[in-house]
Subunit: 352 residues, 3 copies
């Protein structure tokens, strides 16, 4: 009679090249989209209105790119990060086919790197995770690495195998899910909420997104359960009360979605995210924190053969309990300021 | 390089006759309807069951009238009331085509009045806002006025232009979205939850709706984000902690929906709201407040050419932390009692 | 002019054999399913993915069995338990046709027993409630009994009529809504999250479901409103602050759903609940409590003519603020331990 409970994998359970099919495929519905709106107040028009989505050349209104990200991420948790100490980074994230209501997303991962830490207590696991829809089209393909505990500490650690991490996703690898054969006229700009198009942004430009959003325990737990993310630290106050921090930690992806939603004020025409180039959850967040955000344009990219849409590579930084009018980021020592909670490097698509 | 962030309009930005197309059209789905039920526990049968809605002559189950109201209202916030001090009143609200799942609502406003206040610090802006569906049918047409800050105070204020505000919407202007060619038999009354029909109500009659509902921070923020309402005071505790009141304010429309939902117990056959005649948010509400409500029948209206359905003009009053068995309203000085939070004058449709 | 408000029934209002058609039929949608996921984080694959549900032989993805239970239960509250002191037990619950998005559930009850309590203040009401879909197919048929206050205490109580309560639902009365003509291969087991099938479980086996979930006020109220359950104790803090307990009580069904959701870790292939044999809400739960759960296999049942699916009769016990590694249940005195909040006896269906 085997133990029926899944304990999650520990560092020593992973092998290089290991292929994992994650449990719990997930059909996305109008219900998920409504909840996403209720959780973040997102206003990007392509994910808010059928009419607008169709005018952008989508067959129908897609789910927010980040909802797809959270669902793909959530599935990997029971196998990859249930015993994780920290979520260390993201790289090479490319969004493919948009997710439409009715689509079912299934996720697989490959272990692409293993780095035992010298403490002998844990190690870093690098995985490339791919979410696919029911037609086997790639929805999202990304790399993340996490520090995972060992089941048993060891005194002598083995060799590290650290993968070559890709830099920012180049323009010719971006999938552009919409097109504007009839242009993007004043009416569409008005409905989208801004007349600032791709050509109006400059590299280096900084935008304070002004607004703030306070997080409640119920909000982040509803979100994280919606994504079927099972990381214990988000849900179990009885356990967390005895942790060093004493509280439930908020899922880092919840902060990414809040920051993206706040970024509407300044980036309203950024209708889709095409790539996640890098990301760090610099400091933990807790219920009661108020999140603000600012963005900087890192790069302006023309897209091959496309005069209707361009890409902006952005850094969006989120803070807790600190407005962003002076763009808080790193201290003189190069370290993130204590109120900086997210440093997110991603690429958005915007009409030209 | 222009500032990309929208600061919202100040009093001096508005001009009489100004036409505004608001951003972010919004497709209503089954997801929104489920959330509306979860947020308010509404039980009116026409918005709860396809079968019942069809028996009422609807082609299919519509969204609650107030969900349409909140979506239309929410869209106007970034342009009209982002810098508002107070939401002063409503008038002439008429519901038209019901909103069905799949419909996309777009909102426009016209500035119909401007009244600079003598302080020189702010003024009242009167707008007529119209929400239309994808077929350009009017979903809701209503007037509201708000006190909006000036960007810069002035010492000499200009002339006021105050519009003639309509009184209660007359019977012949009400749109009746359902009909009962086969009557409204005992089975339908049972399923609706009450045998009290239009003919059973008397002008002046007062109904204590008995039940109470406590509000949590997460609830009102989920609701207000669902409506894509961006008013900062509802969401940003970091900012609000330094305000006179020290707390997040609850969106007034959240109270309207709670009161309407509580009113089911006593008005179960009031299947749709046809008009919003007037309304005042008499006192602010905060998380932790428990809302009770009572109603008075102000007027009984026959509808032209209709023997199956009648209209009741109602006043529904909501309170915080005060049960309504003795119908609390105004003090001897004519002012609203401090626990009265809503005075809502509206017209419902009820089988005869 | 009759009082329009429904006060709910008191013990003396019930008669043996009384038939009650409950108000507010309810159409289940994708929105309800998404909310159910957000509220409990449930991961059973048949209710998470269209593709998986179809591979199990469902025509499309059904709603969770317990969502159907809550909707049926919720409808009975205004008539049966609005004036209840306690929800005493369940018996003979059989799930029939699965509920699919778009289905409308209507509930009726028959009073099958009445037991006046010797205090003269209240009595136990036994009802058999049946939820049916729009095609009149039975969705759920179950017995519950509740202690209901009398309107007026009496000094002499009448005779009791206590129904014969059925034992556990036998195998030949279970409805099996899915089938596996092509077997249940490794791929399906992987996607479901476990390779432990019916044959792997042994009678007496105990499973600690390990994870814990903390409840917030907003969560349980969202859930209970979603089910249109109107019991005042869940929603009205103004009233509850003066009760002996001083707080809002959490709807017992919310705990059932949390326990079932936690039970995924150990019972991932239990795709549907076929029967509710018995159940007790042993102690009250409040916001802030962290729920853990464990299960014991009470019985293994072969299903007549079915080699593809078997049934497991389970006891799932939920606790508050007490992990379940040593399977807490009853004390030496036979009473439930104070942290045990649910003792749920039900039957699940699992591939063989």
């Amino acid at each position: 009679m085997a133990t029926k409970t899944e304990p999650g994998n520990y560092f020593e359970d992973f092998t290089l090249g290991q292929q994992i099919v994650h449990a719990t495929p997930r059909t996305v519905t109008d219900g998920d989209i409504a909840l996403y709106t209720a959780l973040y107040g997102s206003r990007f028009a392509a994910c808010s209105a059928q009419t607008f989505a169709r005018d952008l050349g989508y067959p129908r209104m897609p789910a927010d790119s980040l909802l797809a990200f959270h669902l793909v991420f959530g599935k990997t948790v029971p196998d990859i990060s249930l015993n994780a100490v920290a979520n260390l980074g993201y790289a090479g994230g490319r969004f493919g086919a948009p997710v439409y209501p009715g689509d079912t997303v299934t996720t697989t991962s490959e272990v692409i790197g293993l780095k035992p830490n010298s403490s002998g207590k844990n190690g870093n696991v690098y995985v490339r995770s791919i979410g696919r829809n029911q037609d086997d089209d790639v929805v999202l393909d990304y790399i993340r690495w996490v520090m995972v505990n060992r089941r048993e500490p060891v005194s002598e650690v083995g060799e590290a195998s650290i993968p070559d991490l890709p830099g920012a996703v180049p323009a010719d690898e971006l999938v552009v899910p919409f097109d504007l054969p009839n242009g993007y006229d004043e009416r569409m700009q008005t409905l989208a909420g801004s007349a600032h198009l791709w050509g109006d942004y400059e590299v280096g430009e900084q935008i304070d997104h002004v607004d703030g959003m306070t997080i409640e325990e119920s909000d982040h737990m509803l979100a994280t359960r919606l994504y079927q993310n099972t990381a214990k630290v988000h849900f179990n106050q009885f356990m967390q009360k005895d942790s060093k921090i004493g509280r439930r930690l908020i899922y880092g992806g919840h902060i990414i979605s809040l920051a993206r939603s706040l970024s509407f004020n300044g980036l309203a025409n950024a209708h889709a995210i095409a790539a996640i180039n890098a990301g760090a959850h610099c400091n933990p967040t807790f219920a009661g924190d108020t999140i603000h955000a600012w963005s900087q344009v890192l790069e302006k990219m023309e897209l091959p053969g496309r005069s209707d849409v361009g890409a902006l590579r952005l850094r969006t930084v989120a803070t807790k309990d600190l407005p962003c009018s002076d763009f808080p980021y790193r201290g003189e020592d190069g370290k993130y300021l204590p109120n900086v909670v997210l440093d997110f490097d991603y690429t958005v698509l915007m009409p030209r």
